[in-house]
């Protein structure tokens, strides 16, 4: 059987997720041994439009992005959103809370009129996405597992429970018990509660967990000593394209 052909693409984003994949080093060689990479800018030059699986990084921020993404969708049997920008819009969506003239001016200054741009959005707003590797950045071990699951012919599994689960598995002291805010209560797990385990809090980069109880989360977050503004800022940071950010 011919090896599946895979390609990597990027839209608005930092390519940090492809860099994470490159960071798999020797493991990457093993995994990529099962496929033929036809396009992967972080690792090699060259490109082809003949591919089975497209890993797409970055969010859609310009009307012309849609045309390119639809083209990719047409060529690929399986389209995988790679990272927060692609999967949930991510931090690119911060601009969606500003007036268009404000962010255009901010980014492009006096030459703003030469650039096209519109509200940032995840891939799934434009095309059907078959699987996602969540996170900002992605967890390379999760990418490896998801890729292997695709190779074995199953729909990849990503966790459908909140980060709290992995935080408890890790044995961390809950940020709320330390008087801090944390989005672990509504965020899809799979990161092994990386940020909390490192002493920070969850920013929500993996997107909302299915069925997230946002009403309850807002009540939980709204504690003495926490400003409404701080809550809003945190909810908009990665979750700008979701109902959490309203």
């Amino acid at each position: 059987m011919a090896k599946p052909r895979i390609a990597f693409f990027d839209f608005a984003g930092c390519e940090g997720d492809q860099l994470q994949i490159a960071n798999l080093e020797e493991r990457l060689l093993d995994i990529l041994g099962h496929v033929e990479v036809v396009s992967f800018r972080e690792v090699a030059t060259g490109h082809s439009d003949d591919y089975d699986v497209a890993f797409v990084e970055g969010s859609i921020t310009r009307p012309e992005d849609e045309i390119r993404l639809k083209e990719i969708r047409k060529n690929a049997k399986v389209l995988v959103a790679l990272g927060a920008c692609a999967a949930i819009g991510g931090i690119n969506c911060l601009k969606n809370f500003l007036a268009e003239n404000v962010y255009r001016e901010e980014v492009y200054g006096s030459s703003a009129r030469w650039f096209s741009t519109y509200a940032a959005r995840p891939l799934k707003s434009v095309v059907k996405v078959d699987a996602e590797v969540p996170g900002c950045p992605i967890d390379p071990t999760e990418f490896a597992r998801i890729t292997k699951e695709l190779l074995l012919g199953r729909a990849p599994w990503i966790s459908d429970f909140p980060v709290c689960v992995e935080c408890k598995q890790a044995g961390n002291v809950c940020r709320y018990e330390m008087g801090k805010m944390c989005l672990g209560i509504i965020t899809r797990a799979g990161c092994k509660a990386a940020c909390v385990s490192q002493g920070a809090h969850c920013w929500g980069c993996r997107g909302l967990v299915p069925g997230a109880n946002l009403d309850a989360a807002r009540i939980v977050m709204d504690r003495p000593g926490t400003s409404r503004k701080a809550i809003q800022d945190l909810l908009r940071f990665f979750l700008g394209d979701t109902g959490a950010a309203l």
């Binding site: 493991r27 093993d30 995994i31 041994g33 099962h34 490896a144 597992r145 292997k148 190779l151 074995l152 599994w157 459908d160 429970f161 909140p162 709290c164 689960v165 408890k168 598995q169 890790a170 044995g171 002291v173 809950c174 709320y176 018990e177 672990g184 209560i185 509504i186 967990v209 299915p210 069925g211 997230a212 109880n213 309850a216 989360a217 009540i219 939980v220």
Partner: protein, 348 residues
């Protein structure tokens, strides 16, 4: 059982000896108000007055993630994986000993869970009489103040620098003897231990159930349709924290991953919880407990009735960990059971 008196100055030598062949865990302060069992190292300050270990001892017996088998994709041969490090848990409060006893019963009945059984066999439990009570704890009113068995040694601090140590197993006694000649406890020391127990149980009774804990299953039997389930579960984040911190919750999910060559792989289990939305969802997406209130009720029935019906004890030992862990403030067996009791009492 024999009881000995041990002095604080003997401990460093004992700990040193024990840690030669065991992973030794002792209570220590993590930060103001937070304690946990941590790996012992020379010079580590023991938090004798810890109110509760932040993480329940189940993680030593049923780790958050544990490999069950390895497999070969081609031959479809599989082999078991057992890991059972020799370990000593020094400083397990009696309610946690009770929780372990319960795990023993539930995981060793029927088809014994060999991974658990082996870990348990390699684990030495050194119980410790609490000196303080966690603000959210209520173990004294759910029948969990005393552990009749399940420990190898039972330590009680009877003075600033002295302990009584009751022997629970031959293994425990041998470990204790590694520190040199054993000094049988005097009648006075034993009396000191009895008083220490009475003192802490008295303190722990401050908050508690408003009825005899053994009534809980009968109480719940009347409360299936209580409006309480919905009222509280509206705030449920389905985060599973109450399950995961619970010393008696042992539900798990099973998953697997092939190696990068796609030739072999491992199948492992991970902690799971009945409060998670997809816990009872089958292939095809039918969910047998689709609503938060179904799941919330299930947890309290499990703690208050189902486990009791099986083994004659509550599935809740009153450690209060879930009370603390629930950011939404709805996980609280004491409050839930008391409110249900009030509800049913007022009906009459």
């Amino acid at each position: 059982m024999t009881t000995y008196t041990v002095y604080k100055e003997q401990l460093p030598r004992l700990f040193e000896k024990w840690s030669e062949a065991h992973a030794l865990y002792v209570p220590a302060r993590l930060r103001e108000g937070f304690y946990d069992l941590v790996p012992w190292k020379p010079g580590l300050e023991i938090a004798w007055d810890f109110d509760v270990a932040y993480n329940s001892p189940k993680r030593f017996l049923l780790p958050p993630r544990e490999t069950l088998i390895t497999f070969n994709r081609k031959t479809c041969e599989a082999a078991p994986v057992f890991e059972a490090p020799a370990q000593i848990l020094f400083g397990v409060h009696p309610y946690d000993v009770k929780a372990i006893n319960q795990l023993d019963q539930l995981l060793e009945t029927g088809a014994p869970d060999q991974n658990y059984v082996r870990r348990r066999a390699a684990t030495v439990i050194m119980a410790f009489e609490p000196l303080t009570v966690s603000p959210s704890a209520f173990w004294a009113t759910v029948g969990a103040a005393t552990a009749a068995h399940g420990y190898d040694l039972y330590w009680t601090k009877i003075g600033p620098a002295s302990f009584t140590v009751e022997v629970g197993s031959q293994r425990g006694e041998e470990l204790l003897a590694m520190g040199g000649p054993l000094l049988p406890a005097t009648a006075g020391d034993k009396e000191g231990a009895r008083r220490a127990k009475a003192r802490i149980v008295f303190k722990a009774r401050r908050s508690g159930l408003r009825y005899n804990w053994e009534e809980t299953p009968r109480l719940l039997a009347k409360c299936w349709d209580s409006p309480l389930w919905r009222r509280y579960s509206q705030m449920c984040l389905a985060c599973g924290s109450c399950n995961l911190v619970c010393p008696t919750c042992y539900c798990f999910d099973i998953r697997e991953e092939a190696d990068d060559q796609l030739e072999e792989g491992i199948r492992y289990r991970e902690w799971d919880g009945c409060m998670l939305e997809s816990f009872a969802k089958v292939a095809g997406n039918h969910n047998f407990r689709p609503k938060a209130q179904d799941r919330y009720r299930h947890r309290y029935f499990r703690k208050g009735k189902y486990i009791y019906d099986k083994i004659g004890e509550l599935g809740c030992v009153g450690c209060g960990r879930c009370v603390r862990a629930c950011t939404a403030g709805i996980a609280n067996p004491l409050k839930v059971f008391n409110e249900l009791w009030e509800e049913t009492t007022h009906e009459h």
